[in-house]
């Protein structure tokens, strides 16, 4: 008799522990990650539109490089729990393909860059350049796409999303003006960019820079250059007079330093092109852009 | 020069007291006691697996005994560099890229010490050793081109270059044709003149009787040790070899049956 009671108690305790530890047994739907963006800068842009109405989270943590991101099993769980997925598009989110296959459930997807003209590399088959967000004018289109998607998802919030979006677009236009002012201070012959990979294409087009070359000849950082490619870049840097190589904080600087040693140029290692930071200097998308432009300014002026 | 002990001159060259060696629960050697005098020639005879190689390795300081003592000129073997162990030819890597002179010079390593390269004196020892064993012509030959008898003589030359005073030869006559065997045996005569003490493991009882001062019958224990006629009595031999004796065509010649190899405890690398 005594033994049976103890068993019941144990099972009861185990059930309580199981329920307490099970994350899906939660009563408040608002605390679930319902809106998931692929990257941190998309999360920030989305929050600027969604305001307090929706909880927005980024799948990728701060500081990761989406090009070479290797997903973990927990990422599948996060996707499963989401109801709305916001991605950059333009083949940026390679890592999502396998995750989406494995995740069950249903969700809507917003492609932020829908409708925008994409840069391609006609000479080689390097695909399309996804780095549209580095031109704030493109982000205005992002905002429109996201606002529409959020309104479709949550029609009650339509008015709020509209006013938030309009306010944010004003900020983006101010940012564009500011960048133009900064860039005007760089003599045109020094508007030369060398980057780790082909990230600043749209930025360069918009603001009148020339991309002299990249360490990795690709729209993605997930590759290793060959010796001849490095040699070609060294030659290009020398002949163009480019003053600096610009790296994202998540890039490995070893190869860039090799090239810098040989060509005598500076290496800037703290641009934030693919992710925000925790706190300054790039806590929001607008801060991120200002930081990057300031760094470029300081190196090239 | 690697450190080594001096010789105490009034001690027998080799004194073994109650030596035992256990391996994996078996006694490879049990309670071995004997001593040798300088320039003695002793044949160690016994079936395969009797512990002959083990005995030699314990005497030369390669294997520490489980119990008992080995003393060379009054001190432990580990302190001496004058003991040469000449391995069974089957245990050697004959494809190792060295020539005869290289191998003989290896015997000088202890005398040279680290960071030293051979001097003229060392080359003299090597050349003298090669002459003694009549291998001077083959000094530059790679060792994989040597015949069995030449291989054996090379190792004896190495022991001479080592200035060994006690040589332990593990079945040097195995697999050699009669002329080669005779060559080795006459070399042993030469060594006696140079005051070298020699223990030789062999299967050939007749050779043992004819060329050695004393014979040790070994089968994990010493069955008998002494002059050949005393030792090579039938009852001794039966105790040593068990059922493994064959009479050759009816006359009084007994040979040991060495076809079935028990294998000693150690495996070759």
């Amino acid at each position: 008799m005594t033994i049976r009671l103890s068993m019941k108690r144990v099972i009861f305790l185990l059930l309580i522990i199981a329920t307490a530890c099970n994350p899906s047994v939660s009563s408040n739907p608002q605390t679930d990650t319902v809106i998931l963006t692929s990257t941190t800068f998309l999360a920030d842009i989305t929050r600027s539109i969604a305001g307090e109405r929706l909880l927005v989270n980024s799948l990728l943590p701060v500081g990761t490089d989406p090009h070479s991101y290797q997903p973990v099993p927990q990422d599948v769980a996060k996707i499963e729990q989401s109801k709305l997925l916001i991605i950059n598009g333009a083949e940026y989110e390679h890592f999502l393909e396998s995750l989406l296959e494995n995740a069950g459930g249903e969700r809507e997807t917003i492609e932020a860059s829908a409708g925008l003209r994409l840069r391609t590399d006609a000479e080689s088959e390097h695909g399309v350049d996804p780095h549209l967000w580095l031109d704030p004018n493109n982000v205005i289109a992002y905002v429109e796409n996201i606002r529409e998607g959020l309104t479709h998802f949550d029609t009650d919030g339509a008015a709020i999303y509209k006013s938030n979006a309009d306010a944010y677009i004003m900020q983006l236009k101010d940012l564009d003006v500011w960048i133009n002012e900064q860039v005007a201070q760089i003599p045109s012959e020094r508007r030369l960019l060398v980057t780790n990979h082909e990230a600043l294409g749209y930025f360069a087009e918009r603001y009148g820079f020339t991309v002299v070359g990249t360490v990795i000849e690709s729209f993605s950082s997930d590759a290793s250059p060959s010796a001849q490619q490095i040699a070609a870049l060294v030659d290009q840097i020398k002949s163009s007079g480019a003053p600096a190589i610009f790296l994202d904080a998540s890039d490995n600087p070893a190869l860039a330093r090799q090239i810098a040693d040989e060509t005598g140029v500076a290496v800037i290692i703290d641009l934030h092109l693919e992710s925000l930071t925790d706190g300054p200097p790039a806590a929001t998308y607008i801060d991120m852009m200002k930081h990057n432009v300031t760094q470029i300014m300081n190196a090239l002026r | 020069m690697y450190p080594h002990d001096d010789h105490q001159t009034n001690q027998p060259i080799l004194d073994v007291q109650h030596l035992s060696f256990r391996y994996n629960g078996r006694f490879a050697l049990e309670d071995i006691t004997f001593h040798l005098h300088e320039s003695e020639r002793v044949a160690v005879v016994g079936p395969n697996g009797a512990g002959k190689s083990t005995l030699f390795k314990a005497v030369s300081g390669v294997l520490p005994p489980t119990t008992g003592e080995v003393n060379i000129f009054g001190s432990r073997p580990r302190g001496h560099v004058c003991i040469a162990y000449i391995p069974q030819r089957s245990q050697v890597d004959w494809n190792f890229p060295v020539n005869v002179a290289d191998v003989v010079m290896m015997g000088r390593s202890a005398k040279l010490g680290p960071l030293n390269w051979p001097h003229k004196k060392d080359w003299d020892y090597v050349h003298h050793a090669l002459e003694t064993v009549e291998l001077s012509d083959l000094a530059m030959y790679p060792i994989n081109q040597l015949s069995g008898g030449q291989q054996q003589r090379m190792f004896i030359a190495r022991a001479l270059a080592q200035e060994a005073e006690l040589m332990l030869m593990d079945e040097p006559l195995n697999g050699l044709d009669t002329p080669s065997q005779e060559g080795i045996l006459s070399l042993l005569d030469q060594l006696k003149k140079e005051n070298v003490t020699v223990m030789v493991a062999t299967h050939d009882l007749e050779q043992a009787a004819n060329h050695f001062d004393r014979i040790m019958l070994l089968n994990h224990r010493i069955i008998a040790f002494g002059n050949p006629d005393k030792v090579l009595q039938t009852d001794n031999l039966l105790r040593a070899y068990g059922g493994r004796l064959r009479s050759a065509s009816g006359d009084n010649v007994l040979t040991a049956d060495d076809c079935c190899d028990d294998g000693e405890y150690e495996h070759s690398h």
Binding site: S226, L255, Q258 | Y2, P114, R158
Partner: protein
């Protein structure tokens, strides 16, 4: 006709010199040659003593040490050398100690450790979410990123290894040919064995950036094995091995430059090709 020959000559010279006009290629070439020589000399003993499996295991076992260094130093290459060196020496002496306590069969024990440590290394590296490119550099080499500082380290430590082998040449040779003789000669067998293990460990650390963990065993074994086919003297074997290794390094880098293939793999393929040619030549001559 002389003009044509001269023209051809200058194309060839141009072909050879053009990659070398870049400092990073010069450094890479020097690293490959130095590493080749050290691996070949040490590899001679590895081949003669049948230690190829040990060499492979050692190279893989150091991955967790490199991973720790990678996590701690955030991607800089120079500190990794010291992490690799420390881990390699510890691993070499550890594996050596295990080989003596043969409760399990030696190659089983080594295999278990080798695979387990390798997996630990990959697990550690994968905690950095963007690990794939760096991992491939650790596995297959990254000779194009050899900095001046790295080159000095290779020269210094590689030189130390070569000097030590020169100093203890006859001891190592005696020990490798006849360990029992070494004991009867009262050579300090234990310390000498440990010294050799340490030298192999230092060689692995020095060679890491050039060929990487996965291909290390090839640099230790293949040039020495090629030389073994062609000579009967140990000293010549070492010299020939060093020549084959250096040539493999140089040719491999040229191949990597002109064909845009991974440099570590190109070097190993060249070394293997030398072996196959020597092997065929020997068969053909019926030696």
């Amino acid at each position: 006709m002389i003009a044509a020959t001269m023209g051809n000559m200058s194309t060839v010279i141009n072909f050879l010199l053009q990659p070398l006009s870049y400092e990073f290629m010069q450094r890479g070439m020097m690293a490959a040659i130095l590493v080749g020589i050290v691996c070949a000399v040490v590899g001679t003993y590895v081949v003669l003593r049948g230690m190829a499996f040990f060499g492979d295991a050692l190279a893989h076992t150091i991955l967790p040490g490199i991973a720790l260094g990678y996590l701690v130093s955030g991607g800089a290459r120079e500190p990794l050398f010291w992490w690799a060196l420390g881990t390699a020496i510890a691993a070499a002496l550890g594996i050596g100690a295990i080989s003596k306590n043969a409760e399990i069969k030696e190659d089983t024990a080594i295999g278990i450790i080798f695979a387990g440590m390798f997996a630990l290394g990959i697990a550690l590296i994968s905690t950095v979410r963007s690990y794939a490119v760096d991992l491939s550099h650790f596995l297959f080499g990254d000779v194009l990123s050899v900095s001046s500082q790295s080159l000095w380290l290779i020269l210094l430590f590689g030189g130390l290894v070569l000097l030590t082998i020169f100093a203890f040449y006859k001891e190592f040779t005696t020990l490798s040919f006849d360990p029992v003789l070494a004991v009867t000669l009262r050579l300090p067998v234990g310390p000498l064995n440990n010294l050799l293990l340490t030298l192999i460990a230092v060689t692995v650390a020095v060679s890491l950036q050039t060929v990487g963990v996965a291909l290390m065993v090839a640099m230790l074994v293949t040039p020495a094995a090629t030389a073994y086919l062609l000579t009967h003297r140990l000293s010549k074997m070492m010299i020939l091995a060093a020549i084959f290794a250096s040539l493999s390094g140089v040719i491999g880098l040229y191949l990597s430059y002109y064909l845009s293939i991974a440099s570590g793999a190109a070097i190993v393929l060249t070394a293997t090709m030398f072996f196959m040619i020597a092997f065929a030549w020997k068969k053909f001559r019926g030696i």
